[in-house]
Amino acid sequence: MDFVNAIILLLNYIFVPALAYGSQLALGAIFVTLIYGILRFANFATGDMMSFGTMFVILFTFYFQSVGISFGVLPTALLAIPFGIIFMVGYMLIIDKLVFKYYRINKSPPVQLAMVSIGVMFVTQAVVRIIIGPSDRRFFDGEKFLIKAGEFKEMTGLNEGLAIKSTQVITIIVTLILVSTLFWFLNKTKTGKSMRAYSDNEDLALLSGIDPKKIVMITWVIAGILATIGGALYGLDKSFKPFTYFNNMLPIFAAAIVGGIGNPFGAFLGGYVIAFSEILLTYAYRKFFMYVLPESMEPDGLIQLLSTDYKFAVSFSILVIVLLYRPSGIFKGKVL
């Protein structure tokens, strides 16, 4: 029985939260990797673009709530996401036309594009803060828990409860659907294949009659969808605050590079690698060992490898190690 308790403990505090957090990171990482692979620059405005999309989702959610539309047990935000995406894609296409296009046509070095993306970052941040303000916002409604800890205890008679939030389940399901559609699109459809060809070898792709304008546009559209959904899911699970979104850019970058930048599948797995290592390394295992070990060997300390303050530092250290030993990432992305 103790052993089952220990498993449930790990499931509750490590596995489920890490899976949800990893899915959110994975969506962001695919966004970064797509921009990097096809438009060829590191987008430092990632976090702020995600907050921009989320902002519209929130505004529509508030609007729906005010007119009384709801989605039953599911959060209203899910209904608002498509509208958020429309605004987000529009914004991205405008930004591309006004800003990035010029440098792409002039074939500027990637560094210059990265610098430009910092300008976009500042502007987006200002727009988000001016429209919705810098404060914390919660926009979750509907049923909060799928399984409550107390109910689970009653049901199974165990000491440890397993609580699963509905947002966690929604996050994981939506991510799986979205990512599998994306991979289907990239691998099976003609447009997807031409996108991959363009990413692989631009000149060859142009020679074979692929229209670069169309590729770039579709990339921004997909990026907009990913950024909005990723941001909205993160906001539903935790809360929306522009500053947090800006900070999330860092683990997202780490996930994209760990997975091999330019490689969407790598980015997808990279998100989970980062999330799991962050949570595994900063979890206090005391209770777990109390269940597993005989009473005489019970530990005194918290058995925590790193204090939770270093959560971010963990992912960055992993990134540094990967950069040192396998600069192309775990799943072979573009060689540096």
Binding site: A42, V111, G119, M121, T124, R129, I130, I257, S317, V320
Partner: protein, 456 residues
Amino acid sequence: MRKNLNVIAAYGIMMGLIILVGIFQSWNIALSIFNLCLISAVMTMGANIQWGYAGLINFGIMGFTALGGLAAVLISVDPVQEAWSAGGFNILFSLFLIIAMVLTVRYILKNYKKSKNRTYIVAAIIILGIVIIRFISEPGIEAIEGVNPAKTGFLGGLGLPIIFSWVVGAFFAGGLAFVIGKVALGLRADYLAIATLLISEIVIAIIKHEDWLTRGVKNVIGLKRPAPYEVNLQQTDWFISLVEKFNLSKLNLITDLTERQATLNQLVIEGSSVFVKLCYSGLFLVVVIILLILTQKALYSPWGRMMRAIRDNEEAANAMGKNVVKQHLLIFVLGSAIVGIAGAMLVTQDGLFTPGSYRPLRYTFLIWVMVIIGGSGNNFGAILGGFVVWFLWIEAAPIGLYLVNLTTAGLDDTHFLKVHLIESVPYFRFLMMGVGLLVIMRYRPKGILPEKIEIK
């Protein structure tokens, strides 16, 4: 003279703007803007020799700034004797172990051929070392943090004058840059940017959470000053007579003696804070001028030529027998050291060390905006960038407020749009920076004062 006309004009306009602030707002604000402009100028010089001279992207400026600030704390704060006796031994022993561990790993890496076994042994040594160090340092850290946590709870510093920390800060930042450079300089430009950005976040995380060293988010306040204190100045005779002399015409208008005394007191209080700020300005100006002379000399030296050659064509420079890796490392260390000086200056001026205030937007990206807008590769441009951008950063709110009032003049004062816009005035600075950066990058990619290399 004619060639430098644009430089002189640009600086003249900038000074004029600051003087206008002094006349219309107050001299206190003008001087605090000027001081921070000078500090920003030091930072931009550091970033400029990395980016402008050598083409290295360093997005870790925040980390080096924070290390400079840490140096200011460790140099100037008086040592906490109790804490040292409580846990000093454990900390020193852990430090010794860390050094021993690094040396062993180095020895193994140097003397044994690359093999799987070697990797495993190195990994084992590092993991074992970390575990042992944690076991030894933990009680020490707890003891230190337990010593009067409301006031100290850390080891304190050396109790030396804070000016020394400017040099030490440079060494701290340079040391970190050496380690980062060894690790990350082989990466391609945008990866280097991401790697340094993330490493600087790690540095901040450590400074924030290692309370025994830095007091963490509890902040260190009341650092020593290189300048006199306002309270002391207000009671010094020569200062009061100086203020009196300056404002004689104003004071003579007042006939009532008690009123005259009250006005004088008011003026002395204002004057004292201006005087203190002027002292800082003087100190900072000395640093800026020394650095400017050194960097200008370096730019026109054979070494500067070599750096530009490496920047413009790495392969060709390599083929000419220049050691690209070594030079990159050197310039990375030098630039970061300058940023470290700026970090120490910043903490000196504020008189307090707040690890929570180090955020990448303010300390990394804003500095980059300064370098790009001012003109990378040109020291005068970089300094000008520091001045212009900092000035706008501070004055953006008043300008934004003015614009909002102008555009919404037709609306009622309680109209929700107007209220909302006035509330969000502080964020206009982000908008201004972003648009400024984008416009400069598009229409004047070399900055306000572009790089000009004359062959002498």
